[in-house]
Amino acid sequence: MGVTVELPRALQPYAHGESVVVLDEPCASVAEALAALEEYWPGVVDLVLTEQREVRQHVNVFVGDENIRFLDGLATPVPPGSTITILAAVSGG
């Protein structure tokens, strides 16, 4: 069972307009899921992670309903069938 990744509107142009991407292969962690996503949509991951492979300061990544900042970050496990949701933080100006 794969992993579903939900993309916010700002990232959809970098995934040919798709709002949801299904990764067919199982991923042990968020880092692995993003690496799989990067293989196909590298521009999406560029905007989620810095060059140092850290989640950007004003971006939140959830596994289910849980923000990975309060779990194990990119090492957070991703059970089969999970949904990863990428969202802009409430910060803005």
């Binding site: 970098y14 995934a15 991407v21 299904v22 067919d24 905007l47 810095t50 060059e51």
Partner: protein, 390 residues
């Protein structure tokens, strides 16, 4: 229906290079904290049409108009607070913008650095029409050899032994000024806040600090080899070795590519300021907007005045006709003063309070052409068909 990652992305088509008709003869690129605006006028520069905001909600500190090599390419560096910075291009005067497959200005992972913001986009000399540079935060220089499609970091400066001692100024640790020698593409000057002026003579392989005579009020040693908070440097292509420098306290001129600097703050109400602009045709004429102090970053006496020298800095005169002369608590940032390439030259500046002023007579008189814009951080003027002015 969700996309499956097995469906690999098709390569986007290259941007068309067919020429679009320009909406006007004079173009003002205006970058703000919430998007970019294009202002168009005819050669009279009395009436302006505004187009924008482009990239609404994103700050745009760097804009350029590249007319070399038959192009008519706008370049912009929008920065999303959430998703970071990218350089985007338009070959149809902003009707459409490129959407790069990947973030096109990126530090190599092994540098330990991540891009914060792009501060400057500059064309190289006309002899290298496909070469561009951009200055970024944290302070580094990137180069493009394909008209701005792809970018690589200039390793010689990235690996400079001084880097670890550069410190961020109020705006961040940024490389904001890039000047090329039109006679020798191997020679280039950059300025970093705070780090100072650096020059290469070998195409970027090695760089030497060039700050002798420039003071650093905020350090115990007021005249260090490097570490100055240089705010802007300009020169004229017909006399490229003569540089003018607006410092964090100090106004200077060098006649030898920065080997040494002499104070030219003659008759200005303050030698603190950010913005500085060379006249497009007169090599002795430079414009600045003095700011009262580093603790009160507004124009002195709440009078909005541009100052102009016509004699290489021996004297400066205020240009205030048409500008508010009381209760004007305005700030003009380092890239918010510009010129077009017409004769007489148009001079333009934008304020942090969102007012945009234009002069069609070299600064002798001014008119507000927009008010109520978001805070203005970048103004670039150009005459369509008259070459790049950045």
């Amino acid at each position: 229906m969700p996309a499956t990652a097995k469906t690999k992305q098709t390569k986007p088509k290259p941007r068309p290079k067919a020429k679009s008709k320009a909406p006007g003869e004079v173009l003002l690129l205006v970058g703000t904290m919430k998007g970019a605006f294009l202002f168009w006028s005819d050669r009279k520069r009395k009436k302006w049409k505004v187009d924008g905001p482009h990239f609404p909600g994103e700050s745009v500190y760097a804009l350029a108009f590249d007319q070399r090599g038959g192009r008519q390419r706008l370049l912009a560096a929008p920065r999303s607070m959430h998703w970071g910075s990218v350089i985007r291009a338009s070959d149809d005067y902003g009707k459409t913008w490129s959407a790069p497959d990947r973030q096109n200005v990126r530090f190599p992972e092994d540098t330990g650095l991540s891009l914060t913001q792009i501060w400057q986009i500059s064309a190289a000399t006309s002899s290298e029409p496909d070469t561009l540079f951009c200055g970024v935060e944290p302070a580094a220089l990137f180069q493009s050899r394909d008209g701005g499609e792809s970018w690589t970091v200039v390793k010689g400066l990235l690996d400079h032994e001084h880097r670890k001692q550069w410190q961020p100024g109020g705006g961040g640790l940024c490389l904001h000024t890039i000047l090329c020698d039109p006679a020798d593409s191997r020679r280039m000057v950059v300025a970093i806040s705070t780090g100072g002026v650096y020059r290469t003579e070998d195409g970027g392989k090695s760089w030497r600090a060039r700050n002798t005579g420039v003071r650093a009020e905020f350090l115990p040693d007021k005249h260090p080899e490097f570490g100055q908070c240089v705010h802007k440097v300009v020169h004229h292509p017909s006399r490229p070795e003569r540089l003018f420098l607006q410092n964090h306290w100090g106004l200077y001129r060098s006649d030898n590519w920065g080997d040494n600097w002499n104070d030219v703050a003659n008759g200005v109400p303050s030698d603190f300021g950010f913005a500085m602009q060379m006249h497009p045709h007169k090599q002795d004429t430079v414009y600045i907007v003095p700011i009262q102090s580093d603790s009160f970053r507004c124009v002195p006496e709440a009078k909005l005045r541009v100052y102009r020298t016509g004699d290489g800095g021996k004297s400066w005169k205020p240009l205030a006709k048409g500008l508010p002369q009381h209760d004007a608590y305005e700030t003009i940032l380092r890239d918010a003063l510009s010129a077009d390439a017409l004769d007489p030259a148009g001079i333009y500046f934008g304020t942090r309070s969102g007012k945009l002023y234009a002069s069609g007579n070299e600064g002798n008189s001014w008119e507000a052409i927009a008010e109520g814009l978001p805070p203005i951080v970048c103004v670039k003027g150009a005459a369509v068909g008259a070459g790049t002015l950045s």
